[in-house]
Amino acid sequence: MEYEFQEGEAKHAVTVERSGYGFRVAVDGREMEVDLVAVEPGCYSLVTGGEATDVVVVRDGSRRYVVVGGYSVVLEEGGGEGRVGATVLEELVEGVQTIRAPMPGKVVKIAVAEGDAVDKGRTIVVVEAMKMEHPLSAAGPGVVKRIYCGEGQNVDADQPLAEVEIEGNG
């Protein structure tokens, strides 16, 4: 079998076939013999070249969470779309910054009005979640184009809250 996994910005090709009691695996062309045994749900004992490691693999849709040696690696099967494991707080498309809620929470303050000119770093909206406030600010100098939320409103993660037109392409 051949799998493609994306980890961060990098894409990796993994081919796997059964071999004796274990597997012959090639990661980006580097071959290795892998002996993998399930020890409890989600947990595996991995022995390769005499080196033993315990590994946890959890599937969440097309995503794989793998923990090995105390480190967590997030893989997106089939290359995925965009970045893996990073929260997109704001995006800048054609000079327009869309400010999104970084997590589910409540809008506690809208610091500007539509049409306001703002400096880089100026707080646009403040979102509160888990008892802490998170100010979201302008990525560059510009003008507030749209505000999509109201003070006191509950918002979901990634919900657009405001748009700022950044001068000179940010």
Binding site: M1, F23, L36, P41, L46, V55, V58
Partner: protein
């Protein structure tokens, strides 16, 4: 001792209090909001009562509802945990008026210590050094501005009504003052229901050293030595230890005596903490009284062998302290790391959601105070603390290595936690050397990202591929969509013994 108490809290601290109750043979009644029906403390308790909708003001901060629930359940006392109503004087008064013992100091002591400004005045009057700053709440902007200039920037805006890093802002110059004041007032209002704030001189690289106090209702006050809690983010502690690497026996004795004097000055009873700042020249200044059991209390329990939570119940039940200062000794070194549902690589942004997989560490000298389980959905409404990992060792280095190993074993999948960050903190050369101060995170971990060793990425890819093939298309391994579905342990049916051959 009480027969039954009500615990007006949730999460890991509610679970901790339940443990103490069980050891003492006291029935533990839990309360929960509608968002917390599936929370661990509800499952662990002897009794559980829903007290309202998810927002704290309508549930965990609803004094009338909590007292009514305690009376209806025939509880004799209320343990408030930390946060929520723990340092609320009106709540302590309301408990007393309803004939319930409040497991903490009296309403009057809470009023004095909870009013950070009043506490500053009382402590200064007792001859203990305080940090330069305002002795009354901030009023009109111009007055605050003049005060800030007098203290000289940087200054810190603090909420008079509470701690825990909430309603707190560092101000480095005049231009930031207005916005910081406003944000601190708003956060203070939300967290404590009081928007009084004041200014203090901001000490730039102090150590945070605090003393645990136990005081009974008969005038006996002892301290259980110090904890150093210098490693902080957002002015909130994330790593704590005892003893402090900075204290020699002479200074320890002097600060311990000062802590007991502060406790007496505010008429303290039950368990509490006297916080100090220690500057680079080892001058100490009173910071504040934390009139509650603290998040980091296990550190002290590990080195002194005193169970602070059980002692809290005993004191509230009217028992006398069973030991004097000379009987308190300490042994070895303990470390605590706070595990929060936060993304340390994204400015400690909270990370609520479902825990797809959980493995908690064990081993010699390892203690875990947790409030979560695999499959638990971490709600957005409350403080993001998930658990506290504590290790004990004969030396600081032994405790530190145990911590590093325990964190390697500690696996939480599905939400971001501070575990990878904390692992890098305790392995940092400055931490290893005991060079800790409150600027530690800013100085050494600005822009931190988890860096996974290349060799482990390759292993992860190999394991993911092999696990995929091993599982086959029809039978996936642990699948998030089925995280709540029965595990083989449940579907296999009960084990049967004594039958057949």
């Amino acid at each position: 001792m009480f027969k039954k108490i009500l615990i007006a809290n949730r999460g890991e601290i509610a679970c901790r209090v339940i443990r103490a109750c069980r050891e003492l043979g006291v029935r533990a009644a839990a309360v929960y909001s509608e968002a917390d029906r599936a929370a661990l403390h509800v499952a662990r308790a002897d009794e559980a009562y829903c007290i309202g909708p998810p927002p704290p003001l309508e549930s965990y901060l609803n004094i009338e509802k909590i007292i009514g629930t305690a009376k209806a359940a025939r509880a004799e006392a209320i343990h408030p945990g930390y946060g929520f109503l723990a340092e609320n004087a009106s709540f302590a008064d309301a408990c007393a008026a309803a004939g319930l013992a409040f497991i903490g100091p009296t309403g009057d002591t809470l009023r004095l210590s909870g009013d950070k400004l009043g506490a500053r005045r009382a402590v200064a009057a007792a001859g203990i050094p305080i940090i330069p700053g305002m002795s009354a709440g901030a009023g009109e902007f111009d007055g605050v501005l003049a005060e800030a200039e007098k203290l000289a920037y940087p200054v810190i805006v603090k909420a008079a009504g509470g701690g825990g890093g909430k309603g707190m802002r560092i101000v480095c110059g005049e231009g930031e003052l207005a916005e910081c004041l406003e944000a601190a007032r708003r956060e203070a209002m939300g967290a404590f229901g009081d928007d009084t704030v004041y200014l203090e001189k901001y000490l730039e690289r102090p150590r945070h050293v605090e003393f645990q106090i136990l005081a009974d209702n008969y005038g006996n006050v002892v301290h259980l030595f110090e904890r150093e809690c210098s490693i902080q983010r957002r002015h909130q502690k994330i790593v704590e230890e005892s003893p402090s690497p900075a204290l020699g026996e002479k200074l320890r004795k002097k600060m311990g005596q000062a802590a007991v004097a502060v406790a007496r000055a505010v008429g303290y009873t039950n368990a509490g903490t006297i916080e100090f700042m220690l500057d680079e020249d080892k001058n100490f200044y009173f910071l504040e009284v934390n009139a509650r059991v603290q998040v980091e209390h296990p550190v002290t329990e590990m080195v002194t062998g005193v169970d602070i939570v059980k002692t809290q119940l005993a004191i509230a039940a009217g028992e006398e302290l069973r030991f004097a200062q000379k009987d308190v000794s300490r042994r070895g070194h303990a470390l605590e790391c706070r595990v929060y549902a936060e993304d340390a690589a994204a400015n400690f942004l909270p990370s609520a959601g479902k825990i797809l997989f959980l493995r908690e560490p064990m081993g010699p000298g390892v203690r875990l105070d947790g409030g979560i389980y695999g499959g638990y959905d971490v709600p957005v409404h409350y403080d993001p603390i998930l658990a506290k990992l504590v290790t004990w060792g004969g030396s600081r280095e032994e405790a530190r290595r145990r911590m590093a190993e325990a964190m390697r074993e500690y696996i939480v999948i599905g939400i971001k936690t501070t575990i990878p960050f904390l692992r890098d903190v305790i392995n940092h050369p400055a931490f290893v050397a005991g060079e800790t101060n409150t600027a530690f995170v800013a100085d050494h971990f600005d822009g931190w990202r988890e860096e996974v060793p290349e060799a482990l990425v390759e292993k992860a890819l190999a394991a993911a591929g092999a696990a995929e093939l091993a599982a086959g298309p029809a039978k996936p391994y642990v699948d998030a969509d089925r995280a709540a579905a029965p595990t083989p342990w449940r579907t296999v049916g009960p084990w049967e013994t004594g039958r057949g051959g």
